[in-house]
Amino acid sequence: MNKMVRKANAFEIVNHWVLAGSFFVLAVSGFGFLFQLEQLNSVFGSFNTMKVWHNWAGVVFIVSLVLTIVHYLSVSLRFTSDDMEWFSKAGGYLSRRVKAPPQDELNAGQKLYYLVVLVAGIAISASGLVIWLRPASSDITRLVLISHLIHNICFDLLVFAIPAHIYLATLANPGTFRIMVYGTVPLEWARKRHQKWVQKIGV
């Protein structure tokens, strides 16, 4: 029987699912608005209802995103020489022979991914709030147009980054997904992927 170590606590797991769930609603309805997908009326009922879902899922997303800062920000801001080496070797993903350098609680790619999600998430939230809560006045047209642009640039970024994250956390790395269900991983698994972290917690 493998010894297990805890990688995520219950709060982290629940919050991750809340963030993922709200993002899914936002992205689907976002595509609906972007391309006027009337097929989505069979899910949301009408575009008016879909807007309500989109706006309030956005509120959930913002709260959840802010809460992730507790878990991931400080570690994500600490880039080491090992992380630079990880990037130069593409994390060992583009060859079966290359060995990635030892990694912390989050590997270099995960750190970068988190920072991208945090920055793009804050930008898409702020611009979304402007579009949602603005008065109808044309005096603020410039602000609305900039928000519209930022909202869509971040959307393009996130609809690329998040499917990539889902792939890397499931099919590409068997054994990873259980962190978001049980929060624990086999010690051996952790040693291979987060060596520095395992040393730090001293299991």
Binding site: F31, G32, F33, L34, F35, Q36, E38, F47, N48, M50, K51, G92, Y93, L94, S95, R96, R97, K99, I131, W132, R134, A136, S137, S138, T141, V144, L145, I146, H148, L149, N152, I153, F155, D156, L157, V159, F160, A161, I162, P163, A164, Y167, L171, A172, N173, P174, G175, E188, W189, K192, R193
Partner: protein, 253 residues
């Protein structure tokens, strides 16, 4: 069906504002309380309950002669409409078979993006947060009637008909250039100006905001390309390199 349009001739307008009133009457738009600003022009701007308004412009020309110009301000019914382009709700803003830009309040989701997408600052929002603007009386024109404004105009300052015929008419009347002939794929409200458009309070080169064009041409397709690209990259990676299995990681050591 040939595209229909309005031809507005400020030189013929006597400023009676019959069109303002007729428009309100046909569209059941309530009156609005305004204040005396020391000008005949009233109300000072388009409102959710005022689709068409006569602008009164006092101006001195190069010949130093004071002129008083009366110009109808309203939705221009652009051939390439910024409001339709940016609108996320299907059917909220739509083109009628006569070529006008009309709206359906039930489909409008109240996002107000059309306010930012309009080159002419036309869309207004009513107290229920729904779009409100001139729809060229498509509920009349579809039945072969004239729009309320054109119907009531006593001097022919607002004329309605086939767009090409109206342009021909204006040229025959001696107007070399018709405002809105080519801009934005042709406007549905044409203006016969004898002086530069600026004098009449119109922008010389109306255009959809560049960011909206960029969004439409680049960012929109990128959303599909990004999502598809991520999925395709994942499939390719899985096939070409495969997953990082624990056993393989072990073997690497």
């Amino acid at each position: 069906m040939a595209r229909k349009a309005l031809l507005i001739s400020p030189e013929r307008c006597i400023g009676c504002r019959g069109c303002q009133t007729a428009c309100k009457e046909w569209n059941h738009l309530p009156g609005t309380k305004t204040v005396n600003r020391g000008t005949v022009e009233n109300p000072p701007d388009l409102t959710p309950y005022l689709y068409n308004r006569i602008r009164y412009i006092e101006t001195a020309t190069e010949a130093d002669m004071v002129r008083w110009l009366f110009v109808s301000q309203r939705c221009m019914h652009c051939g390439d409409a910024g409001c339709i382009k940016i609108c996320p709700a299907p059917g909220a803003l739509f083109r009628t078979k006569e070529g006008a830009v009309a709206f359906n309040k039930e489909k409008c989701i109240g996002c107000k993006l059309c306010v930012a997408g309009c080159p002419f600052d036309v869309p207004r929002y009513d107290d229920k947060d729904k779009i409100s603007k001139c729809h060229l009386c498509y509920d009349r024109t579809s039945e072969g009637l004239l729009p309320a404004c054109a119907k009531t105009c006593p001097t022919g300052a607002i004329r309605y008909g086939e767009r090409d015929a109206l342009i021909g008419m204006a040229k025959k009347e001696g107007y070399g250039k018709v405002y809105g002939e080519a801009d934005l794929d042709g406007l549905g409200a044409l203006y016969a100006f004898i002086d530069p458009p600026k004098l009449y309070g119109m922008s010389e080169k109306p255009a959809i905001p560049e960011s909206v064009v960029f969004w439409h041409k680049v960012l929109k397709p990128l959303a599909y390309i990004g999502l598809g690209g991520a999925v395709a990259a994942a499939v390719l990676h899985y096939v070409a390199f495969g997953p990082k299995k624990d056993e393989e990681v072990k073997k690497d050591e």
